[in-house]
Point group: C2
Chain length 164, copies 2
């Protein structure tokens, strides 16, 4: 099973009267994310499923990936909001869902959550040692059996500038 | 200070009468490494210095990077052979050399050494959780002061296939 952790693109700044969860991608954020999506397509990537945080800037990012043809399945997952945690998600995903080793899933969300999830998968704890830029991504391979926590391997970490 | 850890390209298989340290890049290994070098150049990368393991396949890889114009300085470093270790190298480099924070250095070497070095810089110990393919690379930013061990950050990890 492969996980691709993708951070949302550049979004509107915080401003009075605008709830954090309603901040949208800026024009630049949208364009850069579309370019990243096109590049991922050229690299022959395809996701069986994209799970996205319910926040608008993440949903818009996920929709750009879908529109580019990187997946045909999109679901909103509250585990990917700021209140989510990886242990609950994995428990839900691996135990309740019909988990197969061939699955490739993209998770679209936020920092510092996504890089913490990655570190917990790799090393068992989060120490803020990974830099995940907006519209950047991390690729992780989960072990074929046993707990993935502290036992997974990272094969990719890239800022968008190296994809454009 | 930024470190780019670059694994040598595809090399000849082990065979009787051929010492490990004399194994050369194959034609495919040379071509792929040249393509990676061209891509790094397009991405505006430049190294103040390339240090390479003394083994032939690493030296040949480093020479391809030099020929592409990614650096004009090449040195052989025995710390990058299989007997080397990062603590000694850092001690040598950071204490004895005239170390500046602006320096960008590429280290060309071998697995599992390079990804272990990376993990020690990020996490303080090596757990084999990073996948570094031949002609792939890792980008690490060292902290501005204090020991870099267990305190550095990774901003890039890529196999060559995502650079071609």
């Amino acid at each position: 099973m492969e996980l691709y952790l993708i951070r949302h693109g550049i979004a509107q700044e915080h401003q009075p009267g605008l709830k954090d969860e309603e901040r949208q991608l800026t024009k630049e954020g949208r364009q850069k994310t579309e370019k990243v999506a096109q590049r991922l397509l050229k690299l022959d990537l395809h996701f069986d499923l994209i799970l996205t945080s319910p926040l608008v800037r993440a949903q818009q990012t996920a929709e750009i990936l879908i529109a580019a043809g990187l997946s045909s399945q999109l679901e909103i997952s509250h585990y990917l909001s700021f209140e989510g945690d990886i242990n609950s998600w994995l428990k839900d995903w691996l135990e309740i869902r019909n988990y197969t080793q061939q699955t490739t899933i993209a998770l679209v969300g936020h920092e510092p959550c996504l890089s913490s999830w990655a570190e917990i998968l790799l090393w068992g704890e989060a120490k803020e040692r990974l830099v995940l830029k907006k519209a950047g991504m991390i690729g992780i391979k989960l072990p074929d059996d046993g707990s993935p926590l502290g036992r997974s391997q990272m094969f990719w970490l890239t800022p968008p500038k190296y994809l454009l």
